[in-house]
Symmetry: C2
């Protein structure tokens, strides 16, 4: 199959036809055209590929970047910062799990735009949504949603964003991206806390509140905080960056609020072999978190945490820790904000990663972005609506176009049962990596993400080299933290893709 693709090479764009994925005619045509390829895939892995049109193997024709990409990068760098550039992509030739560049290279992509592509490049169902009249209207008639919402906004929310709301949360405030989703949740937390302190929603602001707020001084601009965890990541605007503790390069030279950080459990992997030690470590972190909540000079209104610390290196904690955190935040009357920007929308084998925890009561707010392709925070408690209008407000307050896209993503996830598939593929991949780690114990350390879908990572002493070599072998992988290899495939990543990934990793390790 690789040679077939190679012969047609750059002349073939992987743009899918604009057919309904359920159209029998289209599906027959697809089946006929790719009968042999599909049959081969089925024979290898015992599964039906979701997208028979997808490339069967990576193609690496040049060094990456190749000559065409180099030219394009040089041009772009005159007007746009390209120093973080990983690969200059040609999305017209990318399809499914495969990302293409300008030089005819086509890579299996298990980084997926920093974990943000949910159902594949040029997904035909999304293409249908993107070319619908309602999408066109949403693009050209972008409303100020707080003032002039479109008449079907409730319907778009209910049939989309809210149809997958975490259990116990039935309202949403929409945003543009992960950073501002978190910051809006923080704002809601501060308003809630100060309202409580004043005596509830009917208690008015004091004249001192009002005048001091305009001077950025307490009590109007209160000396309160959001507690976050060491090595956590919650975004890079000023409030979110004050809760981000991932790497100095994210924080250097930017003023930050005097907000506290608690230790995040440093667990030993595999978790199942270190239960007692890990339990003690988690209890230590809970105790320290409780102490900080009680004692910090700028008292926290909320605690924010990722289910799996992602940018910080894929650091896990167990349900014990998160249940403990839920209990102690309730005890101390601070909110629990679960940042599902990277973990949400299926990648952990549940729609929301915190579904794994069995909480006694839901988080107070859950933020989302990335794979949702839109952003915001879910909440359930009416007291989290500020007591007056225009307190939580901005011009756009989200984007109906992206909300429509998320609705289609949800439909595609349901059509292909992708959360379940991701759970199964993740188990399969984890088993494969476990076997590989026994053969290459120096290459795969601290393998983690068991039972967490494809949200899998491991440490590697020569991480950056592994990522570079993997690319030369046709696989696009990202890193995180200091030395983690972070696997963040799309939800359409199947067992035959996992086989390919394992085979290429083996080649890298053997070199």
């Amino acid at each position: 199959m690789a040679s077939l693709l190679r012969t047609t090479g750059r002349s073939r764009a992987f743009l899918p036809r604009v057919n309904a994925p359920t159209s029998p005619r289209a599906s027959i045509a697809l089946q006929r055209r790719h009968a042999s390829a599909a049959a081969a895939a089925v024979a290898d892995s015992g599964e039906q590929p979701f997208f028979p049109d997808e490339p069967k193997l990576p193609i690496v024709q040049t060094q990456i970047p190749g000559p065409q990409s180099k030219k394009a990068i040089e041009r772009l760098s005159k007007v746009f910062d390209t120093r973080s550039l990983n690969m200059m992509a040609d999305y017209s030739r990318s399809y499914g799990n495969y990302i293409a560049d300008l030089d005819g290279n086509v890579l299996l992509d298990v980084y997926a735009q920093i974990a943000s592509i949910p159902v594949g490049y040029n997904n035909p169902s999304l293409l249908l949504a993107a070319t619908s009249p309602e999408m066109a209207s949403a693009i050209i008639n972008r409303p100020a949603l707080g003032n002039f919402p479109q008449h079907d906004w409730a319907d778009i929310l209910e049939s989309g964003i809210l149809s997958v709301a975490p259990k116990g949360l039935n309202q949403v405030f929409t945003a543009q991206a992960g950073s501002d989703a978190n910051e809006l949740a923080y704002k809601a937390a501060f308003m809630w806390k100060r309202q409580q302190q004043r005596g509830g929603a009917n208690a008015d602001f004091s004249p001192e509140d009002i005048s001091s707020s305009m001077n950025n001084k307490a009590p109007g601009a209160p000396d309160m905080s959001i507690l976050s965890f060491k090595t956590g990541f919650h975004g890079r605007l000023f409030g979110s960056l004050s809760t981000t503790r991932s790497k100095p390069i994210h924080k250097l030279d930017i003023p930050a609020f005097d907000w506290p950080q608690a230790p995040f459990p440093a667990l030993k992997y595999p978790l199942s072999e270190h239960e007692a030690e890990n339990r003690a470590e988690e209890q230590r972190c809970l105790d320290e978190t409780e102490r900080i909540i009680a004692e910090y000079h700028n008292p926290p209104a909320a605690v924010v945490i990722e289910p799996i610390q992602s940018e910080g290196g894929d650091n896990h904690a167990t349900p014990f820790f998160f249940r403990g955190l839920r209990e102690l935040t309730k005890k101390h009357n601070v909110l629990l904000i679960v940042d599902e920007v990277q973990t949400g929308v299926g990648a952990t084998g549940k729609f929301w990663a915190h579904d794994h925890w069995g909480l006694s009561s839901p988080p107070d707010m859950v933020t989302f972005s990335k794979k949702a392709q839109t952003a915001g925070y879910y909440f359930g408690n009416d007291a989290l609506r500020p007591n007056k209008p225009y307190r939580q407000f901005n011009t756009w307050m989200g984007d109906p176009a992206r909300a429509l896209l998320f609705r289609s993503i949800i439909q595609e996830i349901e059509r292909l049962d992708l959360v379940k598939s991701t759970a199964a593929t993740g188990d399969y991949l984890f088993a494969g990596l476990t076997a590989l780690s026994q053969r290459f114990p120096a290459e795969i350390q601290n393998l983690r993400g068991h039972g967490q879908g494809t949200f899998i990572a491991f440490d590697s002493a020569r991480r950056d080299q592994v990522l570079a070599k993997a690319k030369a072998h046709g696989v696009n992988i990202g890193g995180s933290g200091e030395r983690a290899v972070r696997l963040r495939p799309m939800l359409i990543f199947q067992k035959h893709h996992a086989d390919l990934l394992l085979e290429r990793l083996e080649k890298v390790f053997l070199e």
Copy 2:
């Protein structure tokens, strides 16, 4: 014309046909169909309407909200905060300068989604762009632009966003909305200033910088500031809100940085009649700004200012003030950030409002959003690129879909010469309002925006009542500050629309 629209009523959607605006066939068909209406408009105002398909007059059939809208609002309010709702819109029936609701009401819209719709609802040229294959790809294949930009990103930037870059600025960092555009500019300013203090781009971070940054403490998270002006508005996230000084309701209960505010000139209108006093007031504000820059305990890295303070009540200053600010920021080695989120993209009769000032050297950064339908900051000085990659970075770093839309907006502005048209229409409207203010001096006070296109406002003692009555007369107008009536029409607002607005305002004042 009103009666014609009224008979067809709700059954007619104002969705334009998907014709190229330059298609001779379409244009002939349009001309034939609307010959009499167009002729009437021309006869009235001596001008050709840009969109012959546009409604000729507002229609008000019910109280607003009417029964259908009330039902929809009630439903939406269960899942989304509707307390700031102004009007539940039906965008499928909105066209050009006219916004429709669910009850058959069609209003002349001079608020335009808080000044963010540039070239009309359902603009046919934008519809073409929104239904293009490249838009579809941008919607469904959203890249992490810093890592995997699309191969034609340079072309999209150069033919779009950068083609209208302010004089002297040739680079851009793209963002999602006005608030984060400003915050990213602030981050660039802090990184630039600290880099200077360390001795330039090659001087490395100290171990103390690195360790303290992770604890949100100086020197790594420096005690530096952004200076803004009293009654200014720059957004509502934590950093931008710390520079916003518009209203307590925007700021209450949200922690803020200890950053300074300088007085904004309180000028007397009309400016031409109070030159000496205003000059003295502006000099006073410049002197105080200089004092704060020199003395504030958290030294400013940059000064941020709006060309016309918009949310704060449409407060103007003269070119003398802005030129003075440019000089003193240079003298004290702090950056000048001009926030053109609301003033940019043509509304003041120049593409950028700061083009009115005749600066000796350009602003260091200019931020944009709203009418651009995308956001970011322009800059020219290479030293404003942080010295290492990943310092200014986030997952999406903007949105190619919205960048494509801005390119089409720019083309539409050029095709119809809308900046020039807005300058002329603005002068015409200002003259009409001046005449009206002489008849109704209590209703129109401090009329301002002369020579600033349609970016016009006046104070009214009974402002909220005026806005409500105007709506009942078929005109959607916004307010700002404590008592300003803020006119913020689209760039396709023409003299015949101005006539209509003046006529309806007169009716309101006569009541």
